[in-house]
Structures are given as C-alpha cells and as structure tokens.
Symmetry: C2
DNA sequence: CGTAGTGCTACGGTAAATGTAGCAACGGAA
DNA sequence: TTCCGTTGCTACATTTACCGTAGCACTACG
C-alpha cells in the first residue's frame, strides 16, 4: 500500500508533463488496465470472476490495477461485493468502445 | 504449467481467446504504446525526436514498441527516415482521440 | 578526413508481473 | 456451535519487462 502512494506522488509513470492526457495514457497503458475496464463494461464482477475473465491473470497485479482504477474514480467496489464501473468509468469505457469495431476490421 | 512457451508463440500477452479486441487491448496496454501513437498523431518524428517527445524513454523499449506497432500496421518508417502513422494507424488514433477531451474533464 | 545526424542494439541493474499459496471475514447450512 | 464455501486481498520467490547508458553501422554533409 505504501509503495503505491510513493510512486503515484512522484509522477505517473514516465510522464512528467502533468498533462491529464499523459496521466490517463499512462494509467491505461499498464498491464490489464484496459482489459479490466473492458471486462467490467457489462455487469459487475467479483474479484475471482474478473480474474477468470482476464485469463487468470495473477491476483497481485489485478488487485494493484483495481486499486489504481478505484483511486482514479473509474471502478468501485459495491456494498454487496463485486467490482463495477462508476459513471465516470462507464463514460471512459464508452470513449474507447469504437476500438471494438476497429479491432474487428483489423484482425491482424 | 506443462510447457513453457516463448513469448512469440505464446499468444499476445494475456489473451488466449484470439478475439481481435483482446489482442488490440493487449498491444496498446504495453508501456509507451499509447503514448507513441499519441505523439505521432501529427507529423512524423525521427526516432530521437520521438524519444524526446516520450519523456526520454529508453530507446530499448521504444524500439520494441515501434517494431510491434509496425508489425501491426499502425506505424511505418518513411523512406527519408522518421516514423509516422499509416492510414490504419491514423484511423486507430482517431478512435481514441476522444480520450483527450475526457482526460481534460477528468484531471484527477 | 571529421562531424553530425539517422535507426538500432548490448548490457547491467532495477522495477514490475507471474504463479502459487494462503490469510481474515462474512454467510449460510448442518 | 462447527463446517464449508465464498468474498476481497496479500506474501513470497521466480520470471519477465523495462530503464539508463553507451555505442554500433550507416549516410550525408563540410
């Protein structure tokens, strides 16, 4: 817990400019961050259900991303348990939802 | 884990599903990937200019991301030198351009 | 020749992610 | 009560990714 506060205060990884877009790109450019938002786009998921959805990613990093996304105000933990998107997080999810169609046309 | 696969044959990090959106989220969820696309949104940049724009990120990982983004067809190296977006890459950049406005309202 | 610019890479050290295991707390059944 | 299963969350050792510095080969000037 203490270590995250240290890093977060120092700077958002690799962007000293302070411009919000950089902080956002940095936050979303971490492992599983985009994927978590994507998997939560529907109904809320428990931590273990989210882990299954995220291809059994290690709970360590999943928990770290969830904490960061919660501090950013994109994700929240419901009273009855289970992670879901906040209105802000849902809005963010909408902004890069066109990626889905783009990816379908891309196909590698 | 029965066998230890190398990174190349072992899917795009963390997505075994094969769904294009997962591969795309995975590719864009690596360090500096989103930032590179963002910095190239305007005119093409030389490798060193791009590095300056990306807060002096180490050339090792920058080169790795550039190679991946080139293989994905989003970035290309012009004849006279300098990296720029392909039409596909420019299209991708447009899809998450609304993030800019979102980030401005977000502000942490 | 030397100088300065490309794109790109080697290498040692550090930070982050993985995989496995397990914790305390809560909610039912038995 | 006790047992069981689930929740969110964490410890720890291993593996992987990234950082920072330096420097390569190549080209184009002067």
């Amino acid at each position: 817990m203490a270590k995250r506060a240290t890093r977060a205060e120092r700077r958002v990884r690799g962007s000293r400019t302070g411009r919000p877009i950089m902080a956002l790109l940095d936050l979303l450019g971490r492992r599983w961050a985009l994927r978590i938002l994507w998997e939560l786009r529907g109904e809320p998921l428990t931590s273990r259900a989210l882990r299954s959805a995220c291809d059994e990613a290690s709970p360590t990093v999943l928990q770290a991303r969830l904490t960061e996304l919660r501090e950013a105000g994109f994700v929240e933990l419901g009273d009855g348990g289970g992670y879901g998107l906040t209105p802000l997080g849902r809005e963010l999810c909408e902004t890069f939802m066109p990626l889905h169609r783009f990816a379908e046309r891309w196909r590698r």
